[in-house]
Symmetry: C2
Subunit: 412 residues, 2 copies
C-alpha cells in the first residue's frame, strides 16, 4: 500500500491494536429493555487523548467532567450512556463522576483515566444506580472484535436508525496504522465543534499536540459541516484515543506522516458525519451541497451550510420539488457577500443532472427529469457562487412528516 493510500477496513473502534469495546442494556432506557444503553471503549495501555465539544452555553455534566479529565492529555477508557443527557438535572456532576468511577473500578484503571459521555433527554436525572449495577457485567463482555465495536455503537444510539462505524488503515513509514470510529446522532444535530457523540480510536503513536490538531482539522471538515435541524446539542463530544501500539515513529505536527494521518482521520470522520446527516431524524434523502467559486473557504462553508439548513429547501427536497429559488434565498441570508448574477445551480443524482439556474436567473428545465433526479436517496446540489477559487461541501437531509412525528413524541 503506498504511503498516501488509505483503506477502509472492518471492526470499527476495535480495528486499531489494543482496543476493546462493548455495549449492554443497564436500565437507563427504562421503557426499552431490549435496547443497549451503556457502552465502554477501552485500551489495554494508556492513550494520548483529545476532544472537541459543544459550544452550547448549556452543557452536560458529562462534558464538564470529560473536559477536566482531558486536561493532562491522557485517557484509557470512555463510558457512554444513552437515554438521558445528564444536563439540567440536580446532582448531575456527581452522577457523571460516579459513572466514570464505575467503569474505572470494573476495568481496574485510575478514575482520572476514564472519560464520560451522555446523550438523550435533557432535564431528567440520570439513573446512576442502574449504570453502577450493570457496569461490572458490561466490563466482562468487552471484546476486541467487530462485535465489541457493534455493541458499543448500538449502545450510544437514541433516535438513530442505523449504526455508524468505520475504520481505516494507512501506512506510516512502514508501520500499518489503524483508526476506528463510531458516532451517533440523528436529531439536535448542528454541530459546532464535535457532533452529538463520536469516539475514535487509533493505534498510531502521535504527540499530544499533533493529535489535538488532527482532531480539530478532521472535525472542521466533517462534523462541523452537517446539519439535521439547526439545533446545536448540549452534549456534542468527539473524543480520540491514541495508544501508540502501531509502533510507528511518533507523529509530530507538520511532518508528511502527520498529514497522512490527518487525512485518514478526516476521511473517517467524513464518513461518520455523512452517515449522521443521512440518518437525520425522519430523513428520506441525504443532501450534499457543493459550493465552488466562493471567495474564501469560510464563505463556501457558510453558503453550503445555510442551504442544507433551510427548512424550506429541506421540505422541497422531501417533495421532490426542484424549487431552487429557496436555495438562492438561503444563500442570501448566509451572511456572505456574493454577486447573484454569477450564481449557477444544478441538482444531480444517479438519475442524472438538471441545471436550474445560470447567472442568477432561472432556466427552463424538464420537470419530469427533475422529479427523477430528486427521487434518488442521495441528492447533490452543485452551486457556483461566483468567480472565486474556494469551495466546500456540507451535508444535510430533508424535512419530513416523520421528523415532526419523532419530535412531537420523543419524551413519551
Amino acid at each position: 500500500m503506498p504511503d498516501t493510500e488509505i483503506k477502509f477496513i472492518a471492526d470499527g473502534v476495535c480495528a486499531p491494536l489494543g482496543f476493546f469495546a462493548g455495549g449492554l442494556h443497564c436500565g437507563v432506557k427504562t421503557k426499552n429493555p431490549d435496547k443497549k444503553d451503556v457502552a465502554i471503549i477501552a485500551s489495554s495501555v494508556p492513550c494520548r487523548a483529545a476532544g472537541v465539544f459543544t459550544k452550547n452555553e448549556v452543557v452536560s455534566d458529562a462534558v464538564l467532567l470529560t473536559k477536566k479529565r482531558l486536561e493532562n492529555g491522557e485517557l484509557q477508557a470512555v463510558i457512554v450512556n444513552s437515554g438521558i443527557a445528564n444536563v439540567c438535572a440536580e446532582g448531575g456532576y456527581a452522577a457523571a463522576a460516579r459513572e466514570g468511577r464505575a467503569a474505572a473500578v470494573a476495568l481496574g484503571l485510575p478514575e482520572t483515566s476514564v472519560a464520560v459521555a451522555s446523550t438523550g433527554v435533557i432535564g431528567q436525572k440520570l439513573n446512576i444506580e442502574a449504570i453502577e449495577r450493570g457496569v461490572p457485567a458490561l466490563a466482562k463482555l468487552l471484546s476486541r472484535s467487530a462485535e465489541g465495536s457493534d455493541g458499543a455503537s448500538a449502545a450510544i444510539m437514541t433516535t438513530d436508525t442505523v449504526k455508524k462505524e468505520y475504520a481505516v488503515e494507512l501506512n506510516i513509514g512502514g508501520a500499518a496504522v489503524r483508526i476506528g470510529g463510531i458516532a451517533k446522532g440523528s436529531g439536535m444535530i448542528h454541530p459546532n465543534m464535535g457532533t452529538m457523540l463520536s469516539f475514535i480510536t487509533t493505534d498510531a503513536a502521535i504527540s499530544h499536540s499533533a493529535l489535538v490538531s488532527a482532531l480539530h482539522h478532521a472535525a472542521d471538515y466533517s462534523f462541523n459541516r452537517i446539519s439535521v435541524d439547526g439545533d446545536t446539542s448540549t452534549n456534542d463530544t468527539c473524543l480520540v484515543l491514541a495508544n501508540g501500539l502501531a509502533e510507528n515513529a511518533e507523529l509530530a505536527e507538520g511532518s508528511p506522516e502527520y498529514f497522512a494521518f490527518e487525512g485518514a482521520l478526516t476521511a473517517l470522520c467524513r464518513r461518520l458525519a455523512i452517515d449522521l446527516a443521512s440518518d437525520g431524524e425522519g430523513a428520506t434523502h441525504l443532501i450534499t451541497c457543493r459550493v465552488s467559486g466562493a471567495k474564501t473557504e469560510e464563505d463556501a462553508v457558510a453558503l453550503a451550510k445555510s442551504v442544507i439548513s433551510s427548512s424550506l429547501l429541506k421540505a422541497a427536497v422531501f417533495g421532490r420539488d426542484a424549487n431552487w429559488g429557496r436555495i438562492l434565498c438561503a444563500m442570501g441570508y448566509a451572511g456572505v457577500k456574493f454577486n447573484v448574477a454569477e450564481v449557477s445551480v444544478d441538482f444531480l443524482s444517479d438519475a442524472g443532472r438538471i441545471s436550474v439556474c445560470r447567472n442568477g436567473c432561472g432556466l427552463d428545465f424538464d420537470e419530469t427529469l427533475a422529479k427523477e433526479v430528486l427521487s434518488e436517496h442521495d441528492i447533490v446540489i452543485e452551486i457556483t457562487a461566483g468567480r472565486g477559487s474556494a469551495s466546500a461541501e456540507c451535508w444535510g437531509c430533508d424535512l419530513t412528516y416523520d421528523y415532526v412525528k419523532i419530535n412531537g413524541d420523543y419524551r413519551s
Copy 2:
C-alpha cells in the same frame, strides 16, 4: 380619549383619511383564478414615506425599485402582486418598473410616486402583461371602505390562511390621528428589518425623519421578533405612507406627541406580527416566548428568538410535550452568556400554568396538566434568564405535518 390611549378601530389601511385600496385577480396566480393577486393602496394627496426591507443578499427587483422610489422620502401609492416574487428572473427590474408605471397611469400619478412590492415563487418570470391588463379595472374599484382594505389584504396573500389587517386611532394634541396596516406572510418568515410584506397608512402629519424613526422602532419591536421557519425572505418590505390629512401639528422626533405616535404604530405592528406568527405555515399554536432577567434587551431578544426558532421545541409544542430541555438547549446556542443555575421556565395558557424548571434543574410536574396547558392554541413560554433587568417577547408557531406538506408541494 386621553392623550396616551390608543383605540383599535375598523377599516384597516382605509381607516386613515384620504386612503383608498383594493385587490383584483389579474392573472399572476394562473392556477387560482378565484384568488386576488394584485393590490393597490393609494392616497388622495402625496405622502411622506419610509420603508424597511429584507437584509437578504438576494433581493427582489421590486425591493430595489421601491428603495429607489423612497430616496426623496415621498410616495402616493403602492402596487403589490402576489404569486411571483420577481427575484432571480430575467428582466425583473424592467417588469417591476412596468408594474409601477401601470399603476401610475391608471391613478393619474407621477411614476416616481408609486412603490412596487412582490411576493411568491422565486425564480419565475413575472407575468407583467397580465398585471398591465388588469390594473385599469383594479384602479376603478379602489374604495375608502373596509372592503377596499379587505380586498388589498386578500390580494397580497400567498399561503396565508387569514387576512391580517388592523387600524388604531389616537389623539395627538386634540387631533384624531389614525394608523392602518395590512400584512401577509406565512412561510419564509424570519424577518430582518421588515416582514414578508406590510403596508401601513396614516393620516398623521409627521416629518420624514420622525416617520423613519417610528417605523424602525415599530419594526424592531414587532416584525423583527417573529419567526416561522428561520428563512429570511428575499422580498421583506414594510412601507408606511403618511398623508397629513389629520391636520395635527407636524410630529417631530423626540416630542411627547411623537412618542405617542410611535407607541401606536408599534402596537399596530405587533398585532400584525403576532398574526403572521399565528398563521405560520401549518401552525396549530401561537408560541409567545417572554424572557426576563436578561442582562440587556438584545440578550433577551436573542434568547427568545432562539427558543421560538428551534425546530425541536416547535415540534414538541405540536406534540403538546412540555419538553423544556429543548428550551434550555436553544437558549444555550443563542450566542448569549448566562448562568444556567439561574434559569427558570414555565409554560402557561388559558388552561393554567406549569413550572418545569427552576435554578436550571427540572421540577416534577403534572404531565396531565401540562398536556392541557399545551392543548390551547396560544401558548406562552415564560423564562427567567438570570438576575438582569432586561426583558423581551418574541412570537413563533409550532412545526407540524402541514408545514412539511405545504412546503413539499408549494410550486406545483
